[in-house]
Symmetry: C4
């Protein structure tokens, strides 16, 4: 657990490094699938005061196993995603500016090019608002339920990102570090997609064969990018 | 007073840190409600030459109590706000770029998402231009009078920010530091709102129940965000 | 002259500091009105290799008085401005991104707010393209002639900036440092004006009485901003 | 070869310095025209871990001559350009945000001003998508073939840049360093062109005589910019 706390601490500290957060507007977690415990940032603690030992250890029933602080207020969302999407091992939540602007606009991000296709297969979806009943009953939990409902029958490791309407961004991956990596990709792709539409309001998504080529040169059995 | 001067100095120095000011285009003050004295930045002094002892102490009649320099030329605006809005203890004025762009556009900033709703309840208002008579009579004072008139019957601690048409931004809080925090929030929210409209020109504000949820999970008796 | 070379060197080094230039795309000069000599950056020398002794001394006939290097290729423009606008003592040329975008768009920058009015009185003009004949005859000189023709009967110290269509920006002031200051103001104002029109395409300039108030609280016999 | 590896390493390290790349999204190569060997960045290695000895040496048949790592996955594109455009000695590929936004928009970048004309003569072209057959057969190689087909009968050293639709940017030059310089110019010009159209949707390219003047004052027998 000390090792995981260190890892999650380091992944959290990448959020300000990549300028994905202002103040405390973001959090990272990672789960140990053997024990079912996950480690998450404490709520409302500033990044420049954060220490590895401040990380909070939770179980999948929502019980705090270890930690001085309250866990992130978004903890029930992380928990639902870990329960419903079993291949997910790390999760990031941010209000990164361009991603959040798309979420506020209520639009998914079309795949306009290979930067996007290299990491995420197809349009990055924007899930609907929760109803008043869902908010009142259990806002953070139901945010996770909504995300899981959308993704559970899909190849969610090939689309490791979602926009929550009028709210912000969740990304995931095979560990906390990859989830942060995907959060950086999403912000860059969100910025370029908005600029693309500004330059050409009638633009169409990239051809499917180009999207396929880039995604599969980095993922799956025929990947040849990098040193693998 | 020395302690307050130090606090106000530090709060002023956060403005360049958060890239809210160019040159000397901003100022921060905080009031000691017991004595009725407030401390404010001197006028036109560059941030990288500013020292705690340069801060100017004023009373609520506009008399300089202590200080070598002239106080900020916006001092009469701060003074009117302290007189008219008794819960305000710290005030910030900036020309931060996105906030000022909305002010120049003459539009309030709609609440498009939870980043906004977490800190400010509803649309951030843009108050009207002063008339020629109000400008000629007492420009800076009447800017404060206009702000107080707009807010005095409202829950102004739940909307700690205002745009002054064709001018810039004022924010406030329970101390100078919180007022700066709100100035950072406003700039981030202003940027994302403009980008949101660029991505979806027909966008509507966030649902009221979502705004309520986020505002009240951070404020008031039922707040549960953070470590309180 | 050594002192002036040092001053002009320091003013040149502010251009990269304020992110107004990429590579060598800018230059600053200052004139000693007693001798009629002016000091200017050498042509095409990178900022991080620039030294005070590299500055070039010129007279108003275009003769090099001192210096190892060729002077900036824009030297004839500076020279014409010094000859035609006798109150100008420092000049800056940049391709700063937002100012240049307005110049490329062929539009003057309307005065949308007090940030602009604090330093520059009215719309920042965009002068026309030179004709083919003017370009072929003496491009850089005729750029200066065009600027002087536009400004010589006007209060050019109250509008110390001009856009050259499809080209870039010139600013001036009572010394090189003030000219750089005005170049920073222009870039900030240009950015905010574009954002203002993006937020409200039907926006109008700031009311004249507000422009007057801000300009004259900083300039002229009734100024009261700062420590003067 | 050790010298060339050092040079190519240094040119690669300029990409993050000039903020042209996120993660590993870019690569630089340079060819030694005497031996026909070229040096290129290894695939998928992070910039902050890159060392000169990691560079990969290739011949123009696509054989690895030296190096521990796999070469950049874009190596076949570089190779085709070196074969087809014999004056090219250095090549850069990036996904720099503004250049990529134009590529995603499927539009060439019009020459709106002298910043562009100083380095690149005319509109920066955007080449078409590859067909499904071209992608399936040899994606990276055919990207190079397409670029060579477009440029081989043209003055390609006067237009050392191309956008690949829905993908990204390639630039070149007389060595790796100049190719990087052109990549920086392209990104700055791409940003300003988009902002220019935002400020004036009906804008036209700069007059031909102004483009000619700026290009030829820096290039060719009558150049007079700089210290040459």
């Amino acid at each position: 657990m000390e090792e995981l706390k260190q890892k999650v601490y380091e992944a959290n500290m990448l959020l300000p490094k990549y300028q994905l957060v202002t103040f405390t507007w973001g959090n990272v977690s990672e789960i140990d699938r053997k024990t079912g415990y996950f480690v998450i940032k404490p709520s409302g603690v500033e990044y420049d005061k954060l220490k590895p030992e401040d990380m909070v250890v939770m179980d999948l029933e929502g019980n705090k196993i270890e930690g001085e602080y309250n866990p992130s207020s978004d903890t029930p969302t992380h928990l639902e995603i870990y329960r419903g999407l079993p291949k997910v091992t790390g999760i990031v939540h941010t209000h990164s500016p361009w991603g959040t602007s798309w979420a506020q606009a209520g639009r998914g991000i079309p795949c306009y090019g290979t930067t996007h296709a290299d990491y995420m297969y197809g349009e990055i979806p924007c899930v609907r608002n929760l109803t008043k009943e869902e908010i009142d009953e259990a806002y953070e939990k139901n945010t996770g339920v909504l995300i899981v409902d959308y993704f559970k029958e899909k190849e969610y490791m090939a689309m490791p990102a979602v926009l929550c309407k009028n709210h912000g961004v969740f990304t995931w991956g095979k560990d906390a570090h990859e989830a942060v990596h995907n959060a950086v990709v999403l912000e860059e792709v969100a910025k370029m997609a908005a600029q693309t539409e500004m330059i050409n309001p009638d633009v169409k998504p990239a051809p499917q064969e180009l999207q396929d080529k880039h995604y599969y040169r980095k993922h799956g059995p025929n990947a040849y990018y990098g040193q693998k």
